[in-house]
């Protein structure tokens, strides 16, 4: 930094800040330095600016301040709630779709039994009134569906009525 520039900075400091040290030869420098003279003139002109007094207006009461605080808190709460809702919605929309529910084996067997029971009715066999129409009933009955009689279906042997307990033991 050149000595002249350094002096200009110190003069500027002294002009703007009454607490700053006043460099020796300030007045002589200002008289010869165009930049410092302009700064001094601008500073003096600014100091002479006296703005008009502010218009008198109704005072601000504490109740107005507290009302504003309450409005802010409500607005913040609403913002947080909206943000939370938005996040929840975004998470819900972006959640991975649930895999198709696996059908338990027991459900399949129950379904198969129901279909078989519906499709293999023997309409007239147990009804004495309709016994005479048995051939017709047999003809009208839906065809027997054996396709659902899967070999893998567990068949629980029903115990023979009157059969001795213990199976084939003599």
């Amino acid at each position: 930094m050149t000595p002249g520039r350094d002096l200009c900075e110190r003069v500027g400091d002294a002009l703007l800040d009454p607490a700053a040290p006043r460099p020796p030869g300030l007045d002589e420098h200002v008289a010869t330095c165009e930049a410092c003279r302009r700064l001094r003139d601008a500073h003096r002109a600014a100091e002479r600016l006296v703005p008009p007094p502010a218009r008198s207006a109704p005072g601000i009461g504490m109740d107005e301040v507290l009302a504003r605080v309450r409005r802010r808190r409500r607005a913040r709460a609403a913002t947080v709630a909206a943000a939370g809702l938005g996040i929840a919605l975004a998470l819900a929309l972006n959640a991975p779709t649930a895999p198709p529910r696996s059908i338990a084996g027991a459900d399949v067997f129950a379904l198969a039994d129901a279909i078989r029971g519906y499709g293999q009715r023997e309409v007239a066999s147990d009804d004495p009134v309709l016994l005479a129409y048995a051939p017709l009933a047999a003809w009208l009955a839906p065809p027997a569906r054996r396709s659902l009689d899967l070999p893998s279906l567990p068949v629980v042997p029903s115990p023979e009525i009157g059969a001795p307990a213990g199976g084939d033991s003599p």
């Binding site: 600014a46 600016l49 703005p51 301040v65 504003r68």
Partner: protein, 182 residues
């Protein structure tokens, strides 16, 4: 209504008295920074609301005035920046210049700036960056000491001098009126 708040040091502050005691000074500063009385009133109300919500950050109740000035100046700077941005936007979209803010009241005595000069000062401050305008206003129009300007702006004394130096450099010619030239 008496509202007692507790400062960060656990000392009780009569907040309603603080509002009553400081609002005139704050409104004057706000009016000079924003050059609009209605906006100034709103700014002061916002400042008190900020202060009430942040009352725990006030360490020393004796420094409440400087603390309030700082909150107000920070808010005012943001307001000035936003105002400038919107003015730019309006200019870009061809809506023309924003209307000049209303001059704060009639001049009661001869020392006070003439309406013409007031308008010139307003234009000059509008053209300055917000921080320079705030430093200039607080120092020359509000008459605060350099240290108080630094406190209000939350910057160092040297930074204020830099802002003032730049503002004064920009002022050359903008505010020099024939009445001042010999």
């Amino acid at each position: 209504m008496v509202i007692t708040a507790v400062s960060g040091e656990g000392e009780a502050i009569d907040f309603s008295s603080l509002v009553e005691a400081e609002q005139a000074g704050l409104r004057r500063i706000a009016a000079r920074l924003l050059r609009d009385e209605d906006e100034a009133r709103d700014l002061v109300q916002t400042t008190f609301a900020d202060a009430y919500e942040r009352r725990g950050s006030l360490r020393d109740p004796a420094a409440a005035r400087a603390w309030l000035r700082r909150i107000l100046t920070t808010r005012a700077l943001n307001h000035l920046r936003r105002r400038r941005l919107w003015r730019r936007v309006r200019e870009i979209f061809g809506a023309g210049d924003a209307p000049e803010p209303a001059a704060p009241g009639p001049a009661p005595d001869a020392l006070v700036m003439s309406a013409r000069r007031l308008a010139a000062v307003s234009r000059f401050l509008d053209a300055l960056p917000a921080r320079q305008a705030a430093a200039f206003t607080l120092r020359y129009l509000e008459g605060l000491e350099l240290g108080d300007v630094a406190l209000a702006m939350g910057v160092g004394r040297g930074t204020v001098k830099t802002h003032l130096h730049r503002a004064l450099s920009a002022m050359r010619g903008a505010l020099v009126e024939p009445e001042e030239s010999p």
